[in-house]
């Protein structure tokens, strides 16, 4: 079938479906909403960097990606004295001469004057440039199939098909009308109607967009499909099922299982935040028990250190510290730690926070609202949606979201749940109180905002009701599509080094998880376990996926998102400080804390230069600011800063004690240092290298040489990273 006729029929479908048969037209009636607006999106006119931006471009403003066709119609037909269209000579309308670059146009040529797009707009003008009737069908849903597609071999081809479901029940193939945007253009090339051509191996997300709707498809390009010789490793649990299924699809082999020493160091750091002691290490390594790994996991998950690590992690998420002050931060930390230790259902913890009120010092959960000194109710939806649901709503405060479906009405409807909250100061505390009524005004409608669930209905607050209770029930419901996924994603990232969705608080249709089936399975399992964080941790830690070696093999060398090997990650600030203290045998002293307090015990916000330098967040913003990327200041601090050097040279430290022990030979000291720092014995060559400077310099400088060795160990990548 000729493309023109094909497209013409497609263009007509949306209108024909709604209208009763009329007198025969030479050209089907063109719908502004369903035919013209998609052209503006596909051609890029309504993008956020052009006429779809907040202020428009060159005096011409369209709604972003066609969210609001009524506004687009007014802009084209009515604004600028209506000179954007010429009903007498449609071809000379500005709305055609500009995008075809017949006259100067800042956006360049968007389509040609012999294109279907040109013809559609011209014909629409000829037909009177009318807006759709109120009963004309509107898009209800957009889908793309397949949602995942694998192209095997270079230059392999494929096809994405986009379908739009309309309010009149019609479902139309709109593949030629939608806009395709790959997140990585070097992996796949996409034709105007969804044709795919592989460029190189990798995977990418293709955003498909029209009429204010957006969906995504995942495209994988591999060299060749896995054959019969593909040997899948043993599976420990459902996590491995999903991870290895994807790896097989990509024809990637997972790495070998980690060694006992690798696993031991890794799991101690991840679960307790500390290195194992020599006794703990020897006990584990010498055990021949088959289930020793899972027994160790169980034991560590019951330890108080586990609670401290996750109290710190949740303090990051809930931004405890910063503006709440040290007393409230301490109480909130204590509250979180107790909840983790007793494995209180995460849903209850969150529900309590959402419905909290009262003084922040006495009612620790109300610190959740005290992220800023002066709480504004309109800040609460950003905090709540991002921390608890993994959704970023902030763009929608002022305009409809550019990459997601959230509108300004969604934002202010969500904000309305917090309309009655306010902070007041009492002698003891800042207290979150509930005013008698909400006063939040939706700036778009200029009316009082009505509480509305995201993707859900509006609700009316009853007299004497705290509408936040209903919000809490909605958020923590097992049916909420985001709640469980958001937290399992965060927990997954803690252990695995990378979330299934990255950034972890940016869940959107156009940023899908790298393994949707795994994420769904984890979320489902989490909800069924009554939202037990301990059980979730247990699942992840017991998976073979978690226990893989960090060493690549030939097939997975380039993988950074599918967990074919364990991803090496730099120690967290607190892990690093405690590891340094533990190995050097010299505890850090924190103001106001008992001697020997671990870094994970100090409440968020307590000032400490080392921890801040190594990424502990300052909690200025909703986005978790814990930065685990290396930086020059960190390297310099380790190399020449006081923190490490004082610990190494301390006369009461581990090194001094070992050197004073007459029963320890130099080789024994070297072995202990390696074991303590790296949880492994040194290789023979390492011993020789370590001892060489010591033997040469004699007794006086023996101490100094060992200090240098310790310094070198603690600055090594093997120490600084969890692998």
């Amino acid at each position: 079938m000729k493309p023109f006729l094909h497209i013409a029929l497609l263009l007509g479908c949306g209108t024909l479906a709604a209208q009763a048969p009329k007198a025969k037209l030479s050209v089907p009636r063109i719908s502004f909403v369903n035919d013209i607006v998609p052209i503006l999106t596909k051609a890029g006119c309504a993008n956020s960097n052009c006429h779809g931006s907040v202020r428009g471009q060159a005096g011409f403003k369209l709604s972003l990606f066609g969210y609001e066709p009524e506004l687009d119609y007014a802009a084209i037909v009515k604004d600028a004295d209506g000179r954007r269209i010429d009903r007498q000579r449609p071809e000379t309308s500005l709305v055609l001469t500009k995008p075809t670059y017949e006259i100067q146009h800042g956006g360049g040529e968007r389509f040609k004057n012999n294109s279907l797009e040109f013809a559609a707009i011209r014909d629409w003008i000829r037909q009177g440039a009318l807006f759709d009737s109120p009963n004309s069908p509107r898009i209800r849903d957009l889908t793309v199939s397949p949602a995942e597609i694998t192209l095997a071999g270079e230059s392999a081809t494929g096809k994405l098909t986009a379908k739009a479901a309309f309010s009149n029940g019609a479902v139309t193939d709109v593949s030629a009308k939608v806009q395709y945007t790959p997140s990585d253009e070097t992996i796949v090339e996409i034709g105007p109607a969804g044709e795919l051509k592989a460029l190189r191996t990798g995977e990418t997300t293709v955003m498909v967009r029209t009429l204010g709707k957006a969906v995504a498809a995942r495209v994988y390009v591999i060299r060749r499909a896995a054959g019969a010789g593909y040997r899948a490793p043993a599976h420990n649990n459902f996590i491995d099922d999903h991870v290895f299924a994807k790896l097989k699809r990509l024809n990637i082999l997972p790495s070998q299982l980690s060694s006992d020493t690798q696993f031991l160091r890794r799991v101690y750091l991840d679960v307790t935040g500390s290195l194992p002691t020599e006794e703990e290490s020897l006990e584990f390594l010498s055990s021949q028990e088959e289930s020793k790994r899972s027994r160790l996991i169980d034991r560590l998950l019951e330890s108080p250190e586990y609670s401290e690590v996750w109290a710190t992690r949740l303090s990051d998420v809930f931004r405890v510290g910063g503006g709440v002050g040290p007393k409230a931060a301490r109480n909130m930390y204590h509250h979180l730690r107790t909840a983790i230790a007793t494995d209180r259902p995460y849903s209850e913890l969150v529900s309590q926070m959402l419905t909290s009120s009262g003084g922040v010092s006495r009612n620790a959960p109300s610190n959740f609202y005290r992220t800023n000194f002066d709480l504004k109710p309109e800040d609460a939806p950003i905090t709540v949606s991002q921390t608890l649901l993994g959704i970023r709503l902030d763009c929608a405060r002022c305009h409809n979201h550019p990459f997601e479906k959230w509108t300004q009405n969604d934002f202010w409807g969500f904000a309305a749940f917090f309309g009655r909250t306010e902070f007041k100061f009492t002698p003891l505390d800042a207290a979150l109180i509930l005013k008698d009524r909400s006063e939040i005004i939706n700036p778009g409608t200029k009316k009082l905002a009505i509480p509305k669930y995201l993707d859900g209905p509006e609700v009316t607050e009853g007299p004497d009701e705290d509408i936040r209770e209903r919000l809490a029930a909605w958020i923590t419901s097992p049916k909420n599509p985001w709640f469980s996924r958001a937290i399992v994603n965060r927990v997954w990232k803690h252990y695995m080094g990378r979330g299934l969705v990255e950034p972890v608080d940016d869940f959107r249709v156009t940023n899908p998880p790298t393994n949707p089936a795994l994420l769904d399975a984890l979320a489902d399992d989490f909800a069924k376990s009554n939202f037990s964080l301990r059980q979730l941790s247990r699942r992840i830690l017991n998976s073979r996926t978690y226990q893989l070696s960090s060493e690549f093999n030939d097939s997975n060398r380039g993988d950074q998102i599918n967990y074919a090997s364990y991803y090496v990650k730099r120690l967290m600030a607190e892990q690093l400080m405690d590891a340094l203290s533990q190995v050097a045998g010299e505890q850090e002293v924190y103001r106001g804390m008992k001697s020997g307090a671990r870094s994970f015990e100090i409440p968020a916000g307590s000032p400490n230069y080392f921890l801040t330098t190594f990424g502990r967040p300052m909690f200025r913003d909703v986005i978790c600011e814990r930065d685990e990327q290396p930086a020059m200041a960190q390297a310099l601090h380790l190399i020449a800063g006081d923190t490490l050097n004082k610990k190494i040279v301390s006369q009461k430290g581990a090194l001094a004690r070992m050197l004073d022990d007459p029963y320890l030979r130099d080789e024994d000291v070297v072995r202990r240092m390696f074991f303590s720092a790296l949880v492994r014995p040194p290789e023979k060559t390492e011993v020789e290298l370590a001892l060489a400077p010591i033997k040469e310099k004699g007794k006086v400088a023996r101490r100094k040489a060992f200090e240098d060795l310790l310094w070198a160990l603690l600055n090594s990548k093997e120490f600084l990273y969890n692998h």
Partner: protein, 696 residues
């Protein structure tokens, strides 16, 4: 900026002159003693305690007078930074916090001292690790201090069936500790924790061990720092403790049955109410509950007091305040529905508890057309955790008035979060009230007392500081706060006078309009009352020393009724100066003194190396109005030290003396002080260090 720091900053910048009671044309200095730390801050009845008081300007302290004559103190020595006194506590002294006055030549300061029946001991450092926890035998009170980087541990034995009470007293004694108590078992697991006990910074734990063995309690500061002002007294043991009392009012001339909840109450033998000790009869007794009948005689004036219990050996007072009232009292029926409120007469008082979150109590009453009623909810002011909000509706359900507090609280004032409103009812009919916590919280500690009664105009006079220094030959200002009630809307005359000839009567007028203050963010705040400045001019020939002062006020209400009152003084304690600690009503003390020619703020120590020079800098304020330079004498300057530029020019705010240690100067520690215009600075610890070693 954290609210505590914000308040402290504004306090320094703006509020001190407003509430210090000392304001004159030129900002006059504080010359009286200032206390920063006390140790120990209490003792056992019948014992003698060596008390060390630290602060500044203590060298002239000549006496410590306790409000109770059963406590005597003898000064051992007094120097600028420290006073040591021997305090003898008589056996008959009532238990609880007793006030004392530290009297200096140029002023006085009021402090709080805790008298207990329990034996006291001072902590023994080091006890800042669980492994070095100080072993104690219960019951006991330990006196301790949380210094910098300090945490205190105490180990004790406990067994199942016991209910042990651990109570910190610090902020109520003027300490700056915001205490945190944590109990650990023998394996180091945390099993109990308390930061704030309701709305009190002083922590309290009631602990019931599940197993027999040794436990450890940790005392820490909620903030990550410590210093000598963070002193505390920790009582520990199987002690009686009151957690709640109901109802919250007794009617004069009637018998009231009280239910008292708490711990270890089966030990109680005697219960009384108020300062006049109205005796109660115990009807029922159990470890957690007492039922007591108390008869309050008919002529008893309206007021408030605390329930006091005694085991014979131990005496304890409730934190909760009980009203003594002349109007009928009811118990709340916990009507939780606006559609079915509890009907109450007018006038009436109602005792209620919002025992769970989200709850509110509803009441209904009849009002006549034109009637003015005063509706008050007391909660915070009687020791409750509740921050009440009050709603008044007409019969159709229309909200007429919503009040959280009468005036938004300004942080240098005593807290005033309890609603109080006077409403004129235009129409006769039935009206509804709702009472709830402003944050929708609830619990056993969320009790309140509601009163609805005809508005009776009245007023109260308050001084926010119980002591003032007046300077001879100068005008000094004492500020009196006038608080109006019951719709008082006429001027009130306030005056100060003395029996002798120390100064002439001065007066001022409080117009019926609240005073305002602008904070450091230029935000305007309304104060809870009207401030009247009494500018007292003391003749130059007046006699120095303590002067009894009478401050009174009088006015005529709109109905022609004449009212007069005497001022009460509030004693502040707690580091934020808002009276969250001891608040009592006592006499006002004034001291007449000479304004020093110069006030110097000298460093506590200073050092110079042999062969080197250093500048000794001292901030100074002159009050001698001299236009010439004056010499600065240095007393006890060690041999080998020379001084240059030892003079104070006119208008200068700083003395900078260059001190050079010659080669003959002998390294060591000495004491020097400065003398300007007859005024001596405190002693300065002066260290001469050895000459630095020369580099090869």
């Amino acid at each position: 900026m954290h609210p505590a720091r914000y308040r402290a900053l504004c306090l320094v910048l703006y509020a001190l002159p407003a509430v210090s009671g000392l304001r004159a044309q030129q900002k006059l200095p504080d010359v009286g003693p200032e206390v920063r730390a006390v140790f120990p801050a209490g003792g056992q009845k019948g014992s003698t305690v060596e008390m060390t008081i630290r602060g500044i300007r203590l060298e002239d302290v000549s006496a410590i007078e306790f409000a109770d004559p059963g406590i005597e103190a003898e000064i051992c020595h007094a120097e600028h930074y420290e006073v040591v006194a021997i305090v003898k506590i008589g056996k008959g002294v009532p238990s609880g916090i007793q006030d004392y006055r530290l009297i200096g030549k140029a002023g006085a300061v009021v402090g709080a001292f805790d008298v207990s029946d329990l034996p006291s001991r001072n902590e023994s450092e080091p006890n800042n690790l669980p492994s070095t926890a100080e072993k104690v035998k219960l019951p006991v009170i330990v006196n301790g201090v949380i210094e910098n980087n300090d945490v205190d541990y105490f180990a004790f034995q406990a067994e199942p069936g016991e209910k042990l009470v651990f109570q910190i007293v610090s902020s109520r004694l003027g300490g700056n500790l915001d205490s945190v108590l944590t109990i650990f078992d023998s394996r180091g697991n945390e099993i109990a924790f308390n930061d704030d006990n309701g709305l009190r910074r002083d922590s309290k734990l009631i602990f019931e061990p599940k197993t027999k063995g040794e436990y450890t309690i940790q005392v820490n500061n909620a903030f990550p720092f410590g210093n000598p002002s963070m002193y505390y007294r920790l009582s520990m043991g199987k002690l009686p403790s009151i957690t709640e009392v109901f109802p919250l009012a007794a009617v004069a001339g009637q018998r009231t049955e009280f239910v008292i909840g708490g711990a270890n109450l089966d030990q109680v033998q005697e219960v009384t109410l108020g300062e006049l000790n109205y005796r109660g009869s115990i009807l029922e007794k159990s470890p957690t509950r007492l039922t007591v009948q108390i008869d309050v005689p008919g002529p008893a004036p309206e007021g408030s007091g605390n329930i006091k219990i005694s085991t014979g050996a131990l005496h304890l007072s409730s934190d909760q305040s009980i009203s003594i009232s002349q109007i009928p009292q009811l118990a709340s029926a916990s009507a939780r529905s606006r559609a079915k409120p509890q009907s109450i007469p007018v006038p009436a008082g109602v005792s209620g508890v919002i025992e769970k979150d989200r709850a509110a109590d509803y009441y209904e009453f009849e009002a006549r057309a034109g009637e003015r009623l005063a509706i008050e909810v007391k909660a915070l002011s009687i020791g409750s955790e509740m921050d009440p909000a009050l709603f008044l509706y007409d019969s159709s359900g229309k909200l007429l008035v919503y009040q959280d507090e009468a005036v938004p609280w300004y942080f240098t004032d005593p807290p005033n979060h309890d609603p109080y409103l006077v409403h004129r009812f235009e129409n006769a009919g039935r009206y509804k009230l709702a009472v709830r916590d402003s944050a929708h919280n609830g619990g056993a500690g969320y009790f309140y007392h509601l009163s609805v009664r005809p508005a009776q105009p009245d007023f109260q006079l308050l001084m926010h500081k119980p002591a003032a220094t007046l300077f001879r030959g100068r005008k000094s200002t004492i500020t009196v706060r006038v608080r109006r009630f019951g719709g008082w809307d006429t001027p009130i005359e306030v005056w100060a006078e003395t029996a002798g000839d120390a100064f002439k009567r001065v007066s001022g007028v409080a117009e019926p309009k609240n005073s305002t203050i602008t904070d450091c963010n230029a935000k305007l705040w309304q104060l809870n009352g009207t401030d009247v400045d009494l500018n007292i001019e003391v003749p130059a020939a007046a006699r120095n020393g303590d002067v009894p002062i009478l401050i009174r006020g009088r006015g005529t209400d709109a109905n022609g009724r004449k009212v007069a009152h005497t001022v009460s003084a509030l004693y502040y304690s707690g580091f934020n100066g808002t009276g969250m600690g001891t608040i009592q009503h006592r006499d006002v003390y004034t001291t007449i003194a000479d304004l020093p020619a110069v006030v110097m703020d000298a460093p506590r120590n200073f050092a110079v190396a042999a062969g080197k020079s250093e500048k000794l800098r001292i901030n100074v304020t002159r009050f001698d109005e001299a236009a010439t330079s004056v010499p600065v004498q240095i007393e006890d300057l060690p041999a080998g030290i020379s001084a240059e530029n030892a003079e104070l020019p006119p208008g200068a705010g700083l003395i900078e003396i260059k001190l050079t240690a010659g080669s003959a100067a002998t390294p060591g520690t000495y004491r020097i002080r400065l003398k300007v215009q007859g005024v001596q600075s405190p002693w300065i610890e002066f260290k001469i260090n050895a000459a630095p070693a020369k580099k090869p």
